[in-house]
Amino acid sequence: MKKLINDPKSVVDESVQGFGLAHADLVTVSTDPTFIRRLDAPVSGKVALVSGGGSGHEPLHAGFVGKGMLDAAVPGAVFTSPTPDQILPATLAVDSGAGVVHIVKNYTGDVLNFETAAELAEAEGISIRTVLVNDDVAVEDSLYTAGRRGVGGTVLVEKIAGAAAERGDDLDTVASTASRVNANVRSMGVALSACTVPHAGTPSFDLAEDEVEIGIGIHGEPGRHRIPLESADAITDRLLEPVLSDLGISRGDRVLLFVNGMGGTPLSELYIVYRRAAQVLADRGAVVERSLVGNYITALEMQGCSISVLRLDDELTELWDAPVHTAALRWGA
């Protein structure tokens, strides 16, 4: 294992410390327990947004703390959801009295830990709404499983719900906007290589030199199936097709197209994927109104990408365009 780290046990702490030093104009970092909050939180009268999850997906979530997006981010150990004793103080620290939305990616660990924290926060008199993100079409959605995972759509939920909170929407409205984004976004990913969790020291799965793993998540977990390496266009088609059909995208639909890098893939390759995806959408008569290309929700140094499509309407577009000022996403400010 080759990493720019000092000690597998201190990766998260030191990284968060560095983040705090680099972005002291935006955030305050709390240690013991670890969480990152917006410098000016609690923002008077504003609904607060708290998200979190295992580390290793950077810039998610700390990179999205700031004006127009999250009020706090709670990082767990690498690929391990944070604990209630982190989530609760983060929630308390940013609540202005207007209530807090927990944005939770749908993994058993995240769900359970946020659930406990929400109960404890409610017991302290804070109104909590929990929005689960579960946009990954690679996973079968059924009552008898853990359900779909939250992946790329999380970034879009956080941005758009963050804008809703920033403009003064109340707790239920912010939560329902977040849910509406989740209902209208689908994603699917591919890995060309595995990633190595620092404390594990070996790659999260083994992949032959001519194989790719289709339907991977963001935790280095293997995907749904393995196929021989194909062209970028063929892989793009494989990822996009289930996304579009699950969303039911048809002629005239307006969409946001998000090509996300898993951490170890050059930007140039993401644009090759974007090119094909945009062509396919155009062929179907959909209108790509907004786009996002880059490493926003990653799996350490995994090579690969995910494609997310969000169906837009006037309000979602307006909220997407609203100013945002975070370490990883910034415009209009």
Partner: protein, 210 residues
């Protein structure tokens, strides 16, 4: 042999030892069908339990388990943290302030642990989760307590053996809960890491009484 606070502290100490020893093995199991963190999380969690035990030595078995519950909840994270936290909390609940646990008491504690895990995680037996260790353990402990004499060791052994067999029996299963469920059919042929760590925990309970 009685199951008093010394036994409880020794049990948790042996749990910590087992997690440290089997850390890499549990990571490997989780690497195959999960995200490679289970061994690390359990090791971190039980080391923290040791620290807490040293800081504030508990007075009863119930207090020891409650301390473990709170610590695991706040240090393990992931799916296992809240599940084990709940399990230990519910088990502690059955013990109240009792100074000693009898065979029926142990059976009740294991049952409560199982019920807690099911309540939190909504998994059924056969879903390839830690429930597949705790459910047979609870049944076996109850059967042993019902039929056996006052000898508590045999009840501990019955639970541990059932948990171990349950963990092994997860090998062919297709996961329906937790992270392994994303793999679908590909999850078959691997042991569930949480069932494996559960077996270690119940085996440690035997060791503490030996």
């Amino acid at each position: 042999m009685v199951l008093d606070v010394n036994w409880a502290v020794k049990w948790l100490t042996l749990c910590a030892q087992a997690m440290a020893e089997h850390r890499v093995e549990l990571i490997e199991l989780d690497r195959a069908i999960g995200d490679s963190d289970h061994g690390e999380n359990m090791d971190r969690g039980f080391q923290a339990v040791l620290d807490k035990l040293a800081e504030a030595p508990p007075a009863t078995p119930g207090a020891a388990l409650k301390l473990a519950a709170m610590t695991l909840m706040s240090k393990v994270g992931g799916a296992a943290g809240p599940l084990y936290g709940t399990a230990f909390l519910r088990a502690a609940g059955t013990m109240g302030d009792a100074a000693e646990i009898d065979p029926a008491g142990w059976a009740a504690a294991v049952s409560a642990a199982r019920d807690g895990i099911v309540a939190r995680g909504k998994a059924e037996p056969g879903d390839k989760t830690m429930v597949d260790a705790w459910a047979p353990a609870a049944d076996a402990a109850k059967a042993a307590a019902d039929t056996g004499g006052p000898e508590v060791l045999s009840v501990l052994v019955a639970a541990a053996e059932a948990a171990e067999a349950g963990a092994v029996a997860t090998d062919p299963l297709v996961a329906r809960k937790g992270r392994a469920s994303y793999l679908g059919e590909r999850s078959a042929g691997h042991r569930d890491p949480g069932a494996a760590s559960s077996a270690l925990i119940l085996r440690a309970a035997v060791g503490a009484a030996a």
